[in-house]
Symmetry: D2
Subunit: 356 residues, 4 copies
Amino acid sequence: MKKAGVLGATGSVGQRFILLLSDHPEFELSVLGASSRSAGKRYEDAVVWKQTDLLPESARNIIVQECKAEAFKDCDIIFSGLDADYAGEIEKEFVSSGLAVVSNAKNYRREADVPLIVPIVNPEHLEIVEQKVKSGQKGFQICISNCSTAGLVAPLKPLVEKFGPIDLLTTTTLQAISGAGFSPGVPGIDILDNIVPFISGEEEKMEWETRKILGGLSEDKMECRLVSEDAMKVSAQCNRVPVIDGHTECISLRFERRPPPSVEAVKQCLRDYVCEASKLGCPSAPKNTIHVLEQNDRPQPRLDRVRDNGFGVSVGRIREDPVLDFKMVVLSHNTIIGAAGSGVLIGEILLKKGLI
Amino acid sequence: MKKAGVLGATGSVGQRFILLLSDHPEFELSVLGASSRSAGKRYEDAVVWKQTDLLPESARNIIVQECKAEAFKDCDIIFSGLDADYAGEIEKEFVSSGLAVVSNAKNYRREADVPLIVPIVNPEHLEIVEQKVKSGQKGFQICISNCSTAGLVAPLKPLVEKFGPIDLLTTTTLQAISGAGFSPGVPGIDILDNIVPFISGEEEKMEWETRKILGGLSEDKMECRLVSEDAMKVSAQCNRVPVIDGHTECISLRFERRPPPSVEAVKQCLRDYVCEASKLGCPSAPKNTIHVLEQNDRPQPRLDRVRDNGFGVSVGRIREDPVLDFKMVVLSHNTIIGAAGSGVLIGEILLKKGLI
Amino acid sequence: MKKAGVLGATGSVGQRFILLLSDHPEFELSVLGASSRSAGKRYEDAVVWKQTDLLPESARNIIVQECKAEAFKDCDIIFSGLDADYAGEIEKEFVSSGLAVVSNAKNYRREADVPLIVPIVNPEHLEIVEQKVKSGQKGFQICISNCSTAGLVAPLKPLVEKFGPIDLLTTTTLQAISGAGFSPGVPGIDILDNIVPFISGEEEKMEWETRKILGGLSEDKMECRLVSEDAMKVSAQCNRVPVIDGHTECISLRFERRPPPSVEAVKQCLRDYVCEASKLGCPSAPKNTIHVLEQNDRPQPRLDRVRDNGFGVSVGRIREDPVLDFKMVVLSHNTIIGAAGSGVLIGEILLKKGLI
Amino acid sequence: MKKAGVLGATGSVGQRFILLLSDHPEFELSVLGASSRSAGKRYEDAVVWKQTDLLPESARNIIVQECKAEAFKDCDIIFSGLDADYAGEIEKEFVSSGLAVVSNAKNYRREADVPLIVPIVNPEHLEIVEQKVKSGQKGFQICISNCSTAGLVAPLKPLVEKFGPIDLLTTTTLQAISGAGFSPGVPGIDILDNIVPFISGEEEKMEWETRKILGGLSEDKMECRLVSEDAMKVSAQCNRVPVIDGHTECISLRFERRPPPSVEAVKQCLRDYVCEASKLGCPSAPKNTIHVLEQNDRPQPRLDRVRDNGFGVSVGRIREDPVLDFKMVVLSHNTIIGAAGSGVLIGEILLKKGLI
C-alpha cells in the first residue's frame, strides 16, 4: 500500500479524494492537509462533509495538518485539491521537498515540463515524469485538466489517432454546479430556473488545454508541445446549468482529411477505444472508456454520469454537421474523470509504471 | 376593435393568446375554439388554467366552440394554438372559408406562399398576403416560426442587412420546458437535475426556417425564396434544460465578407436595430428590439426574459470566435416572441397595413 | 411626495425597496445608504443588480452614502434592508437622530415599545407610534416581521377576530430561497434536488412573533402585549425548498371555542377580510387581502405568488383536521408581503395616519 | 434460488424490481409480465429504461409475457408493480391460481386478511400468511404500504413498543417526484420553481395505513386489527416538491403516557432499534434501521436517501414540540423502502420464514 497525502482535504475536491482513496486497493489515506483553521482537529471535526456517501471511517480520526511538506514527507504521493489561491506556493514547496504532487489546481498547467493529464486520454505525457525520475529528480508536479476539458478530449483522442488531425473544433458546454465547489459555489438564486452563460476563465482553459493534451512531447521528452492554434482552432462557449453532477457538451468538429470518415467509422472508432489505464489494469480504469449511445435523447447527466463509476465518458447523437464534419453530445462526470477521480487514476498509472 | 378568434384555446399556446388579447387595445376576444370535449362549456370550466396571471374576466364566460369555420365567420382574425395533429385540416377549412389565420403550428410553414413570420424580423414577407388581398383572395394563412428560430434570427436580420450574407451559422440551444406545453410536456423526472440533449424535429426546423425567414420573395411577391443551403449553412444542436421560460442560444457565425466587421460594429448594429413593428407603432412592439448586454454573465433567462414584455430579445457576450467570426449568447422568451406573442404582433402589423 | 431613504441599498432587500419606491405615487427615492465600500459610487456602479426588472432610471445615478443619519436628515422615512449585523447600531443612531425607521432586520423586533407590523394584519399596533409622535418624540422604530411569520398571521387575524382565540397552532414551512439573500444565500449545491430542513433561528422567530403580532397593546398604548405561551401554543418546522419566491406553509390550528366554526364559516371569514390598509386606500394595499382558492392543488408558489402584486395572500385546501380543528395551505410572497413590500405598505399607512 | 416473477415490469416500480432482483443472492428473475402491447417482445425492446443503473444483462433478453397466472405458474413469488387500474383483477387471478403476490398497488391494502407490510416495521403481520400456509392455502396476497407511510411508521414502531401508544400524530410531507412514475408522472412545468400542495388520495392513505401497520392481529391471527381512530388521531398534509428521490416528512407526535419520555430517551430508542429483517439476516436488510442524525440541518434527501442502499431511514432534528410532545424530520427513499425495495425485503423475510 502506498501512502497518500491529500491537500485541501476539507474542500469539495479534497472530500472526493478522500472518498476515492478510503477503500482503495493500492493507496492508503495517510496525511490530510488543510488550512491552519482546520489543522490540529480530527478530520471529522474539521470538515463540513457534503457527500452522499458517509465520511469514511478511515478518515474520521486523522488529525488534520497544515499544508507544509514536512508533515507529508513519508507520503508516496500527494493529491492536491487546493484552491488556486493557495496551490501555487504550497505545491511548489512540496515538489521541491521531493514529493510527487498530482494537483487539480490550474496554477502549473501551462508549464511546459508539467504534464497536463486526463488519464483515459494522454498518460503518455507522463514520459516527462519518467525522464525526471530517471535523472534522479525526486519531486515532480502533475496537473489534472480542467473538468470540462476532460470530457471534451476523451472522444477526440481516439479520433485523432485513427483519422488524423482535427482542424476545427467547437464546444458549447452545459456544466454542473458541483464543479464550482461549496463555499459558496454557485448561489441557488443564480441557478434555479436559470442558466448562467459564463464561467470565469473556463473557455480560455478549454481552448488552451485541449491543444496541450492532444499535443506531443519534445524530442528529449522533457516538455510538452502544444498543437498550434493554426493547426487546431478551438472555440468554447461555457454555461452553468441546474444540474448537480455531469458536464454535457455539444461538440462539433472537422477533420483535416478530405473526405472525412463516415459516421459509422467515427462511432466504431469510439467504441473500440481502450485507454491505456485499462490495459495496464489500473483498479479505477473504466471497463468501457467511451460509451457510444444510440438512443437519440442520450446521454443525459442524471442517467449516464456514473457509467464506470464516473471514469467512463458517454457520447451520443453522433451525426453529420452541416457546418463542420460531425456533431455529437459528450457527457462526463466532472468530479470524477473531471477532477479527483482523474487524480487517483493518474496515481494508479504512476504506480503501474513504477514512478512512485 | 377587431374581433379575434382563438383556436386551441385551452392549450398552453391558446392560454397565452387569451392573456395577450384580453386587455388588448385593438383586438377583442370573440370566439374560442377547442376540442369537442370542451365545446359547449364556459371557458373557465373547460380550461385547466396554468398561467401566473389570473384567467381574464373577459374570457371566463365565453362558451367554447368546436373548431369549425362557421362559428368564427365574424372574426377579423384567427389565432391558432392548435397542435400539429389537428392544425392541418382545421386551418385549411378556415382559410378556404375566407378567414385570416395566424398559426403557431408547424403544418404550413414550408409552403412557399405562406409567410413564415417573426414579426420583429421579417414583416416584409407579409407582402405575399398583400398580393393575395389585392387579388381579392379573402382567406390566407400566416405561420409563426418555431420558438427557437425566433430568437436565433432576431440578431441575424440586422447583421445581414448591414454586413451582408452570413455563410456559416451554428447554434446550440438551452430551451425552456414551457415550449413543450402541458399535457404532458416534459416530465419532471426527465428534467430535474438533468438535461435532455434532444428535441424531436427541432434542429431540422431551425436549420430550415432560418433560411426561409432570412430569404427574400419571388419577383411577383407571391412566394418566399429560401436562402440556399449552399449560401448559408446552418447547424443546430438543441437541448431541453430545467428552465421554465426563455430559450438561451449560444450562436456562432461567419460573414461572407472578408474581413468581417469589428466586434464593436456588430454590437452597434444590434443596438441600432429598430424593427418595423416598432416604427409602425404596434402596441406590443418592443421599445428596444435587441438589448445588447455588456455584463459578461448575461443574458440569463430568469433575469432577462421579460424585457419589453417578452417581445425584446437580449444578446450578450458578443466576442470573436476562433473558429467562425463571432460568438454570442441570445435569449428570447419562447412563449411570447417565440409563440403567441409573435402571433399577436403579426396581427397588429396586419391591422396597421390594412390587411385585416 | 415624501422623501425616502434606503439603508442596505445594495442588498437583496434594499434592491426590492428601490424597485417598489422608484415609481411610487407618494414616496421618492432620496438617499441610498450602503457600506463604506459602496459609498461615493453611483448606485448603478455600486450594486450587482439581480432583479427581473431593470434597475430604475431614478436610482441609477444616486450617489450612495454611508449609513450615517446626517446624510438622511431630510428624509421623511427610512426603509432599512440592513443585515442584522449592522442594523442594531445604525438604526439606533437614526432613531435617536429623529428619523422614522421601518426595518426588515430582526434586531428590535422583541422590544415592547417597537411595533412589529405585518401591514395587512396589525396596523393598529402603530398606535404606539402615534403615542410617541403625540408626546413630541420624533424618531421611532418600526419592525417588519419575519417573512414566514407574515404569511402565517395573515389568515389568523380575521379568524381570531371573528371566532376568538386560537389555542394551538402548527406550521410546517416550505420556504423559497430568495429569503436568504444573495451573498451567498443558499448555495445551489444545497438546494438542487434537495430540501434543507432547517433555517437558523426561523422557528423561534415564527413561534414568538406570531404571539406579538396577534397580541394587543398595553393600556397606555405605549407597549405591545404578547399572547401568552399558555394561551396560544405555536410550533413551527421550517424547510428551505427549491423555489425562487413564495413561502408555502401547511398550517393547522385549533380554536379555543367549542364547537369550532364550520369549514364554510372559516372560508367565508377569510374571503370577507379587508385589511385596514385597503380601507385607507393605500396605493400598494391588496384589492383582495386573502384569496381563498377552491382548486384542490392550489396555492402553488409559481402560479399564485404575485396575486395583488405580492401583497395578497393565498389560502387553499381549507379542511378539517383530525388532530386540531382545521388545516390549510398558505402562500405568501416572501420578498413582498414578507419583507420590502411590507415596509413600503407600512410607510403608506404612516402617511395616511399623518405619522410622517 | 427462488424464481421471481415481476408484474408491470416496464413501469417505474417494475424497473426497480428488476434492478433489485437482477443480482440478488436468493431470487432470480424468471418471468416478466406487462401489457399486451409489450408481450412477446424482448424486455430490452419493450421497456423505456430510465434508471441510473444500466439495464441488467439478466433481464435484457427475457421475453415479456402477458399478465396471466399460467405463464407465472413456476414462480415462487410474484412482485407486482402494476398500476391500480390493472392490479385488482390480475392479482386476484394470480392469488387464486396459488401464487404468492407481493404488490405495490393500493387495491387490497384495506382487506383485513391482507397484511400491509413495511418490512422494517411490522413483519409480524406475516403471521396471517403463516396461518394461511399452515391451513394449506397456497396463494396469498401481501401489500406494500404507500411510500410516504413507510417513512412515517419506521420511527413510530420502536417508539410505540418502548413508550406505549401515540395518541396524536401529524405529518407534513415533502415528497419526491419519482413516486409518481414516468408516464407522465409529475409534469416538469408543475414542479420546477414550484410546490404542489396536493397528491391525490395520499393523505387518506397515510392516515389509514398508519393505523393498520401499527395495529395488531386478531386472536386467531387471521386478520389485522387497526388502531382505532379514537386511540390514534393521524393528520397528514402532503406536498410534491422538486426532488427526484426521497420523501422528507416533518412529523409531530404525542404519547399517551404522561409525562412523556425525554428527548434523549426517544433518540436512544430509535438508535437501538434493530428490525427483525436484520436479525433474520435478510440480505437487503439495513445494517442500521434508523439513522439518528445530530447535525441540525439533516436529513436532506440528496445526501441521506441512500443510507443502507435505501433500506435505512434517517431521522433528525428530534426535539420537543410546543404543541404535541416531539417533532422530528424523517427521510426515507420512496422507491426503495417506500416501494420495490420493501417488496424484495418482504420476499426475503418470507423465504427466511419458510413461507415461499
